[in-house]
Homo-oligomer: 348 residues x 2
């Protein structure tokens, strides 16, 4: 089958490799319909994260059709249309039952890439999410939105949910990538009244507004703190969603959280010294929460229904689509910010 | 009037100083009925925190009778029996309205000690808590419990509340001082099913059990982690209340929190490197929450009623009582762990 393979920094190629097989009775083999490129794939692509050359390890977001299931899989059968989350919870250990499938005590490392014709999903019963009908029942836009339910939409929602966003809140969202934009949707779904998106890119700011942002702040650093404190009458925001993970955004985040607010992070933290915030956190009861998203949980509790009803359209983060043959271009364009996120059409 | 005054490390004396006066129209002058010695007073007493010699700066927990109020005070009048919280919120700024009076935007620094015959309370309307009736309506035990409502009981409850403790939870409490013991009460009030108190002192462990602890763990370090993980079937606790603030307890706390749990801290943090926990916190969605307690909020929302009804008896943490004349002994005995917490009977 055809599969994306990392060949080195800034080099992704389409290679013919062996099609994966069912290996465990809890596996499902998925025929990929739509996949995409993640911000974290780009970190690897750029050489910031180490990646083994010659291995199909990129991509972890997709929707697809089940081709075959292992003998212990009870909830799914061949032909089912499913979301393939990047998490792989078994569904029955303590963390899974508590809704934190990302910390599953029975999760193997997942192998392979979703940027390929087929993917072997582990813990099928615990991890996959059923989509009603078949791909042909949906528009291109709906398929794009369904694809975000494998990672970025639940990750953005997770930021808002873990922060404890509630009706009437003022929320600041750091990060105008796909996750930050989905966090805007998440804050809105939870009833936030004012959603301030930190963005300095016109296309992303426009999409943030479309998703529910009431204000856009382009400032950074001290200027951003000043502006945000003015906008919140000097008190700070009720919740701060940190969808970047870099030093500067975290620094600003802690300065604009009001007493009792949470800073909720879903961006992989990178080189941030949190010790300097501890005293302020203690004095002001500012919490540091968040982490890897609960994909299946949020999809099944709220997000799938909201996508199917058309209330939310997170698929709008895909501002360009590519065939699997064009995989290198999908990376190049996203790396160069020509697209917010690249959708890969693998099959119909 | 007579007032406790710090004269130097391990030296507290009773000195005649000028009685405080109403200085601002929002002040209230309080005739102290019961005061006490706080663990944080001991830090100063031991010379760990700097203290100005010759100044009455110790003590911040009391109940008393209002002697006189400033002209802007509307909610209280002379003769009212009140809890005097260690926090001094104005009651109308954003943090106060959000329930975080400790971060009040209009709080002056409070001056003077509660370990004296009189105390000038600032922000009277926003900060004080009315107790029905007069001191003579209550037993000694009830007066002791009412005294805890100025700090340790709401602080312990704050740990449990900020952690998000809910019905059926398994909670681990670090710290068997007055705050840790009150955190046990707090966890029980919120419905925790299993409350594991970390204690190696017989008297404190017995009180923890009386307050609702179902298990006592005396181990420390790696042995504590092993024991706690065994007790939680390898998954960790639903909430961890950190009422110590020292490196060892924080270290253990992060190792025994289950995925999605909060580590809630109310102990003044001391020389702890939190950066080493960040990756685990992110991978397991473990939150770091807590801070200075919301005293008036929790007293009025739940705790005063529970003390008045006799459902909780946090005053049991006072295992010795002293007259104001015996102030030095009250410090000595608490410093030497002869009493869990020292109650000071100032007037009737």
């Amino acid at each position: 089958m055809k599969s994306a393979v990392f060949m080195g920094t800034k080099q992704v190629e389409l290679v013919d490799i062996e099609r994966p097989k069912i290996e465990k009775p809890t596996d499902a083999l998925i025929k990929i319909v739509r996949a995409c490129v993640c911000g974290s794939d780009l970190w690897r692509y750029r050489g910031i994260f180490e990646a083994k050359s010659g291995e199909p390890t990129s991509g972890h977001e997709a929707i697809g059709i089940i081709e075959e299931v292992g003998e212990d899989v009870k909830n799914f059968k061949a032909g089912d249309f499913v979301i393939v989350p990047f998490t792989h919870g078994c569904g029955h250990c303590v963390p899974c039952l508590a809704g934190f499938e990302n910390s599953c005590e029975n999760a193997d490392d997942a192998h392979g890439t979703f940027q390929a014709e087929f993917y072997r999903a582990i813990n099928a019963d615990g991890a996959l999410v059923k989509i009603p009908g078949q791909p042909s029942d949906y528009t291109e836009e709906q398929l794009a939105s369904l694809t975000t339910l494998s990672d970025v939409m639940p990750t953005g929602f997770h930021a808002a949910k873990q922060a404890g966003v509630k009706a009437g809140d003022t929320v600041v969202v750091f990060g105008d990538g796909a996750v930050g934009l989905c966090a805007v949707i998440g804050a809105k779904l939870l009833g936030a009244k004012r959603i301030i998106a930190m963005s300095r890119h016109e296309d992303r700011a426009a999409l943030a507004r479309e998703f529910g942002a009431t204000d856009i702040v382009a400032e950074r650093g001290e200027a951003a703190v000043k502006k945000l404190m003015e906008m919140t009458n000097g008190s700070g925001a009720d919740a701060v969603l940190e969808c970047v993970g870099m030093k500067d955004s975290v620094e600003t985040a802690f300065q604009v959280a009001r007493a009792g607010a949470n800073v909720s992070r879903v961006g992989l933290p990178n080189d941030v010294d949190y010790n300097k915030y501890l005293d302020k956190m203690f004095r002001k009861n500012i919490g540091l929460v968040g982490g890897i998203a609960s994909v299946k949980r949020w999809d099944e509790e709220i997000l799938l229904e909201k996508v199917l009803s058309g209330e939310i359209n997170p698929g709008r983060v895909f501002t360009a689509a590519y065939s699997l043959d064009e995989i290198q271009q999908a990376y190049v364009d996203m790396d160069e910010r020509k697209t917010i996120k690249s959708l890969i059409k693998v099959s119909d």
